[in-house]
Amino acid sequence: MNLLAATQLAVDSAWAVYAVGALLVVAGAAGVVLQRNPVHCALALVTAIFGIALLFVDQGADFLAAVQIIVYAGAIVILFLFVIMLLGVDRKEVRPPAKLRSLAPAGIVVGVVAVVELLVLSQVHYWATGYKGAAEALNGPGENVQKLGQSIFASYLLPFEMTSVLLVIAVVAAVILVRRNAQPGASAGHKTAASARPVAKAPGAGQATTAEAPDQPAAQQAHEPGAPGR
């Protein structure tokens, strides 16, 4: 087969999609692990996420691919970038002497062994119990979104409600965690792509009078052992 036919084959077949997706994923993951600058790591993460989304589409999970882009790439990684910028860790890292000796060898060993075993396990055939889940069949009539929505709101309603509670808790926790007494830029309003306004108060007056005041000094002081005095 000459080069033209191979290219044709590659472009036409699903292997091409897979190859591109896999390339994006692996390149992104390697970038996250290997880049020095955290902003570059975030960008590499975005690349990996795009690759994953491509693979989702390839497997028929359309809605999930869209949600992946919107939520992961569009919100989570943006959050990461916010924090990176806020904390200024994008500047050149002044490498302080490592307090703990490098765990790189152990880490690499763990990673490799995990991969190998996962590969072995993936070839094992007796995991499938044949038990039918509560969801419907993947292939069948109806759009993916429609079926996904039906299964979530009908079969898995309780987990859905619990996750909504979880989200509320997360928002409240985030607000509490980053409250500060008198500092500009104190309240980074942490929220998801939802529409809630940042509910963090203005720095200064009024903060100490709320009910959360007792938590505040303790949480902050306890977590900033070496911080320069505020």
Binding site: A14, Y18, V25, A29, V32, V33, L45, A48, I52, L55, Q59, A61, F63, L64, Q68, I76, L79, F80, V83, I84, L87, V89, R91, E93, A98, K99, L103, A104, A106, G107, I108, V110, G111, A114, V115, L118, S122, Q123, A128, G133, A135, A137, L138, N139, L148, S151, Y156, T163, L166, L167, I169, A170, A173, L177, V178, T192, H223, E224, P225, A227
Partner: protein, 101 residues
């Protein structure tokens, strides 16, 4: 024809391994967190793959929930990181070691 399932599984496994290694090797707390996200994505890919292989929509539901939880977790985790590392440059995970025995 489509790519058979196990190829995706292999890819997810590699992604997971890379994420695990990155978590243990990097010292910057935010990069460590990103590696955790990588691992979560690997799991998502596995779920979707199995959903296709077993012809069951439950895998995608699981991914849905994993996505939600991951988002919430990122929110809280970053909040903690911000609370700890305010105005500290070059913060590493080794600096918060006061909870030791």
């Amino acid at each position: 024809m489509t790519v058979p399932g196990p190829w995706y599984l292999v890819l997810a496994a590699c992604l997971f391994g890379i994420g695990a290694t990155g978590l243990l090797v990097r010292r910057n707390i935010l990069v460590m967190y990103m590696c955790i996200e990588l691992m979560l994505n690997a799991v998502n890919l596995t779920f979707v793959t199995f959903s296709r292989m077993l012809n069951d929509l439950g895998g995608q539901d699981a991914v849905f929930f994993v996505l939600v939880v991951a988002a919430a977790e990122v929110v809280v985790g970053l909040g903690i990181i911000v609370a700890i590392y305010r105005r500290r440059s070059g913060a590493t995970a080794d600096d918060i070691s006061s909870l030791k025995g």
